[in-house]
Symmetry: C2
Subunit: 215 residues, 2 copies
């Protein structure tokens, strides 16, 4: 297994994992072929064999891979087995939805604090936690080391929040504000920008219209 997996394979592995979870719920066979995973995820089957080989899995000619073994290995490689702490900054609608996301626990994350600058939100329960004032963020991070910061505040406030989380020692940032955050290279940032998705789909809707107009 390579020391580090790159971002491209890292986008595909969770797809395989999701597929295997669904497949197990449906009562799939113990052996799964790369072809079957390909059909369920839209990824090329050769690619899948390469990815699985890259994380140290061996298949069996004529049989396929052990579905359980693949799922276990994916959990381990992706770090779902570890527990790590996260804080959420921004207790608005999006923040609330994130905090309530049932997959968090399964994927290893434990939400340990929720913060908001808005006094009216302070004291509310979000994700089973009481919302704290943003001013207490630094103190909190000193007392409870946190590895992931989740940013669900308006774009205008996001970089400031990011800087404070980084200063507080988080290893990674998950940003839902519509801008590209700047951060030192040691801090991993993932920008989960909704408007990128919407822009892509809007573009296709536009193209579909033009196609119809031509036809």
């Amino acid at each position: 297994m390579p020391r580090r997996l790159n971002g491209i394979i890292l986008e595909r592995l969770p797809k395989y994992y999701n597929f295997l979870q669904e497949r197990e719920r449906r009562g799939g066979a113990a052996a799964v072929s790369s072809h079957e995973i390909a059909a369920g995820t839209g990824v090329d089957d050769t690619q899948i064999r390469k990815d699985l080989a890259a994380i140290g899995l061996k298949g069996c000619p004529r049989v396929g891979f052990s579905a359980r073994e693949v799922a276990t290995c994916l959990r381990r490689v992706l770090g779902f087995e570890q527990r790590y702490a996260a804080v959420l900054v921004g207790a608005g609608r999006l923040g609330g939805a994130l905090a309530a996301y049932p997959g968090f626990q399964e994927l290893g994350l434990t939400l340990s604090g929720v913060f908001d600058v808005d006094e009216r939100k302070v004291g509310l329960a979000v994700g089973g936690l009481m919302v704290k004032p943003l001013a207490e963020l630094e103190e909190f991070l000193r007392r409870f080391p946190v590895e992931l910061g989740i940013i669900a505040v308006p774009a205008i406030a996001a970089q400031d929040v990011a800087d404070r989380l980084i200063e507080g020692g988080v290893a990674a940032l998950w940003n839902f504000a519509p801008l590209t955050l700047t951060a030192p290279a040691a801090v991993r940032v993932r920008n989960e920008c909704l408007s990128i998705g919407l822009a892509e789909l809007g573009y296709y809707v536009k193209c579909a219209r033009e196609d119809r107009a031509r036809a």
Copy 2:
């Protein structure tokens, strides 16, 4: 301008747009260089010049690009100027957050219906609309043509909802359930899977821990 932009450039264009919006709010100069956009988005400056050229923009040596012209062109190319109708299926927390997303209007989308299978949610106000029973989806789509279907239901129900939306004539699907939907090639599907993001970040958290352990 090419007939169709591919997915890779389509992921970058909204970043440029977001950056220019932020920049205007901060009162940036009329001219913007590829270098400046590069600094703000993390994209290589040569890449930016190529992308802008690909959508028909011309810059000015020694000066840069007209920020307003670039923003306008991006809006047009990405289809933000058009209005198109969407329905949301799933009025849970995530659905509620999506419906309330302030960027929707700006990006051209008009939410025309919200549906949920849960009777307790029917009649609630979500995104300014009254939640309707899922059983009425087909009838609604017949009466009000809709171009985008937004899926915010549990994984187990997502494919069924997708099939019904496709049957009802949507051109694109925006899927927030953690699985890869299957759809005819004519229907564009974007899977906005939160667990992919979390898996990537969890992986980096794991790597950061291992690095510390080694050090």
